[in-house]
């Protein structure tokens, strides 16, 4: 099972209405339907992934996240999810804003570009990091907007977003170190977000 699934499901109330942005082959949505009896839709643009969702009897809608979520009403979902897609968007902050408009709460996961391996790669090789998690070359990668945990925290602050929870996924061996500096040792972060109170 994917590491993040178990964490995400803990933050999702039973029977929620969810929207999963960039739902891929529908693994997460199916997991939430089976374990949390959620209802909802996945948005995806890759034809193969859409077919995989159809096979799982999921409600999958072909929609490009970069075109926004203008077709969804305010607060029409209990939870809007986006796993490992933030870094592929043309305007991550705008989509984030839209997620918080459409959903009462949001969950976002993304890979940490501040991870020590990435830092070493750039420092010593002088080249853009390529890893198991991010296996693309800089010119062909779908991941066009990398950020670190710290970058994301600052964006949330600037946008007045409340971070309800944050869970960092580490490699097992590195766990003792990780608590010291998540931004250096964390591979993936799972953020549970809510729109901050209007000031």
């Amino acid at each position: 099972m994917r590491l993040d699934l178990d964490q995400i499901q803990q933050w999702i109330p039973q029977g929620s209405r969810v929207l999963d942005l960039g739902c891929g082959d529908g693994t997460l949505l199916k997991f939430l339907i089976d374990h949390k009896q959620v209802t909802g839709y996945g948005l995806e643009i890759d034809p193969e992934q859409i077919n995989a969702c159809v096979d799982k009897s999921l409600n999958v809608i072909e929609q490009n996240l970069d075109s926004g979520l203008g077709n969804f009403a305010d607060k029409s979902f209990d939870m809007v999810l986006m796993t490992q897609a933030l870094q592929t968007l043309h305007f991550p902050h705008r989509v984030l804003e839209e997620m918080l408009r459409v959903g009462k709460e949001c969950i976002v996961t993304f890979p940490n570009f501040g991870h020590w391996k990435a830092r070493l790669h750039l420092t010593f090789k002088g080249r853009m990091p390529v890893s198991d998690l991010l296996p693309y070359e800089w010119y062909d990668t779908p991941n066009i907007h990398f950020c670190t945990f710290r970058d994301f925290d600052l964006l949330c602050k600037a946008m007045g977003i409340d971070v309800v929870h944050r869970q960092v996924v580490y490699e097992r061996s590195i766990k003792p170190l990780a608590a010291l500096s998540p931004n250096l040792f964390g591979e993936t972060a799972i953020y549970h977000l809510r729109k901050g109170a209007e000031s």
């Binding site: 859409i50 159809v54 999958v60 077709n71």
Partner: protein
């Protein structure tokens, strides 16, 4: 089965006729006392009668959706790419019913049938029909065939409109609704094209106010022009360019010659128009285009499509094609957004295709895969 038919064909099929003696109340306020529907079926109805699929046809369609009428038949039914053993609408699993709509001109009661009150062809006196009238007549056919609930009602274009109307009029009589290249209502541009086509028919001297059969005449020129106009809207600019470009069929632009120039596309459209005029009835064309124009899924639901779809109980598959400008992907998106607003199960795909509106009839790897995989998940029990 004769070996001359492909293995994935339903093979030889014979149209059947169902008679109805109960008057059918129509949306226009009139009633049709007696009528007949001609239809075809493919595959076997299972013991629990739960694997039946209704195919709704588009403007120029009819009951012959798959297979061949004779050994000599050169062309199979109009949706043969999608109906047959192992095809998306798999006749090894499903019992498929394809009916010629009321008011049609391929066997079902329509303007060319005899009006029992006068003994003459109905012609322009045939009652004006709405999409819902077709749906009601199809429901009666289902009754006679012993089908309480369709596994799916499926249609492209105007057929998709019938499928959606089914979901609202008989919510408990279908489990899935497949809406392909359709719209919840026509745009002003759609209506404009239809009206231009109708004017071509009406202004043909052979039309005789719709009583051409009594005059042993046919407005074949007008009908051909109507088809040419329609045909342009079924194709994309790209596919017309690719197919015909500016190729000449005859003539030349060379200086000193006055031989008239004919482009390939002109000759193609005329051929399509003339062919159509020989096989289609002008009053039916007027009747169906009017039904299209008047169709507005949400009109009686306060113009609120979310409120309309709130009545549906089935699951939906909505499909559009990238270069379709007759019922563009944006029209399908409106359907999907309304379904999401009404919290209904829906899957939506926009298929990349060069073929414009016609794409819903043509083979395409992605369309076939998606459609087939959706159909495979439909429970036949």
């Amino acid at each position: 089965m004769p070996t001359s038919f492909p293995a994935d064909s339903v093979g030889l099929v014979t149209p059947q006729v169902m008679h109805f003696d109960e008057p059918l109340m129509l949306a226009c306020g009139r009633a049709l006392e007696r009528y007949e529907l001609v239809y075809e079926t493919y595959g076997q109805l299972n013991a629990s009668r739960s694997n039946a699929i209704l195919i709704c046809h588009a403007l120029s369609g009819h009951h012959h959706a798959a297979g061949y009428h004779s050994e000599e038949d050169r062309k199979p039914g109009w949706w043969d790419h999608y109906i047959g053993p192992g095809k998306p609408i798999d006749t090894d699993r499903f019992f498929v019913v394809s009916v010629n709509n009321l008011g049609g001109c391929h066997g079902s009661t329509g303007p060319t049938s005899t009006n029992p009150d006068t003994g003459k062809p109905w012609g322009p006196d045939f009652p004006k029909l709405r999409v819902r009238d077709w749906v009601h007549s199809q429901a009666r056919l289902a009754d006679k065939l012993g089908i309480d609930q369709w596994a799916a009602v499926i249609g492209g274009s105007l057929g998709g409109m019938q499928a959606m109307r089914w979901a609202l009029e008989y919510p408990d009589r279908l489990r899935h609704c497949v809406v392909i290249a359709a719209a919840m209502k026509l745009s002003a541009q759609n209506i404009a094209f239809n009206e231009t086509a109708r004017q071509a028919i009406i202004s043909d001297p052979g039309f005789h106010d719709g009583r051409y059969l009594e005059h042993q005449d046919v407005p074949k020129h007008g009908l051909a022009v109507a088809r040419m106009i329609g045909h342009i809207t079924y194709l994309s600019d790209h596919v017309m360019g690719q197919k015909f470009g500016r190729e000449l069929r005859s003539g030349t632009f060379e200086r000193g010659t006055d031989q008239p120039v004919e482009f390939q596309v002109e000759s193609y459209l005329r051929y399509q128009g003339d062919n159509f005029a020989q096989s289609f009835d002008a009053n039916t064309y007027l009747l169906i285009t009017k039904a299209l124009d008047y169709f507005d899924l949400a009109r009686e639901y306060d113009d609120d499509p979310v409120a309309a779809f709130a009545h549906a109980q089935c699951k939906f598959l909505v499909v559009s094609f990238s270069t379709d400008w007759r019922f563009a992907p944006a029209r399908s998106r409106e359907i999907v957004d309304a379904l999401i607003g009404a919290d209904k199960p829906v899957t939506y795909a926009e298929i990349d295709s060069h073929f414009g509106h016609d794409a819903f009839l043509l083979p395409s790897a992605r369309y076939q895969q998606l459609f087939g995989r959706y159909m495979r998940r439909i429970d036949t029990e």
